[in-house]
């Protein structure tokens, strides 16, 4: 039995619902209050069991400011990330287009290492205003090696799946590394 610890960067444009997603996940589905701007980083810590093992992953979720203003501060706070959760708003095409920029910024913090990641399209409850196609997002995510999810934080739908996926990927990475350590001697 092992408990891993992962620094999870939660990134994306302002107002896509990063904080709402993190808080919903932390509280197991208790609704979050009104919108407040995140300055710098808020930390959410939660332990996620890895299915079919006795193991778990403690996620240290760095809920990060989407505003450009805080960009420089993030460079320091994002040092040595382990996993990435990239969020966009399915009704806001610009927020989807920004994902490439966010991905690049986080990956620059972990040169030469594999960085497990998920792409999360939020606000699926606003079906009539959808501007980003699921297939389009899926195709881009696949090309970037990210697992793709859609959620509605408002309807409290599928908000756990992305984090469980990250925990699973990180656990898999640990197993692979330990196997490699065995072959060294």
């Amino acid at each position: 039995m092992v408990k891993l610890a992962a620094k999870c960067i939660l990134a994306g444009d302002p107002t896509v619902g990063k904080t709402a997603l993190a808080q919903l996940f932390r509280s197991d589905g208790v609704h979050f209050q009104n919108y407040t701007l995140t300055a710098g980083v808020d930390l959410v810590v939660k332990t996620v069991p890895v299915p079919d093992t006795g193991d778990s992953v403690e996620l240290f979720i760095f809920d990060s400011a989407g505003k450009e203003l805080f960009s420089e501060m993030l460079d320091k706070l994002w040092e040595s990330p382990n996993v990435l959760c990239l969020v966009y708003d399915v009704t806001n095409e610009q927020s989807f287009n920004s994902c490439g920029k966010w991905l690049e910024k986080v990956r620059a913090q972990a040169p030469g290492t594999t960085l497990p990641g998920v792409l999360v399209g939020n606000k699926t409850d606003l079906a009539g205003r959808r501007a980003v196609d699921s297939a389009q997002a899926q195709a881009w995510a696949l090309g970037q090696g990210l697992e793709c999810f859609e959620t509605s934080v408002k309807e409290m739908e599928s908000y756990e799946a992305p984090f469980h996926c990250l925990a699973k990927q990180f656990h898999q990475l640990y197993r692979e590394r330990v196997d490699a350590f065995h072959t060294l001697v």
Binding site: M1, V2, K7, L173, F181, V185
Partner: protein
């Protein structure tokens, strides 16, 4: 005054603290004298472990076998308890793809009862430490 590996658990040394523990790869593996067994870290850095000699020793050379360690800091104390550690050594390791890092460090002023090893940076998400040995002398059998 014979020279031997002061770190060996068979000589009475002990790992009294480690910040990671996978029960399959426990910190005791670091001082069992067998490089095939190892301790793994299980997440974010820094990570550390403390070796207790249960006696006063004078370390003259340290040998560390590890993988994917980037920066290692070593602190020491002469106290009876693991407190009042002072900075001692800091090393940047080289990335050795597919083989163990084998770092030999000749040291000065190696009088201590405990050694604290802090891995502050790594080349990947996880690292392994296979062996730490310390050549030197036993100064006194009381700690």
């Amino acid at each position: 005054m014979r020279q031997f590996d002061l770190c060996l658990s068979s000589e009475g040394s002990e790992v009294v603290l480690a910040t990671s523990s996978d029960e399959k790869h426990p910190p005791e593996n670091i001082i069992d004298g067998n490089p095939e067994t190892f301790w793994t870290t299980t997440g974010m850095f820094p990570q550390e472990f403390i070796i207790c000699f249960h006696k006063h020793v004078k370390v003259e050379k340290l040998i560390i076998q590890s993988y994917l360690v980037r920066t290692l800091k070593i602190e020491k104390t002469k106290s009876k308890e693991p407190v009042d550690f002072e900075r001692w050594i800091e090393r940047d390791f080289v990335h050795t793809e597919g083989q163990l890092q084998n770092e030999e460090i000749l040291v000065h002023d190696g009088y201590c009862t405990y050694l604290r090893f802090i891995i502050t940076k790594a080349f990947d998400h996880f690292i392994s430490v296979h062996c730490v040995s310390a050549e030197g002398l036993v100064v006194s059998n009381h700690s």
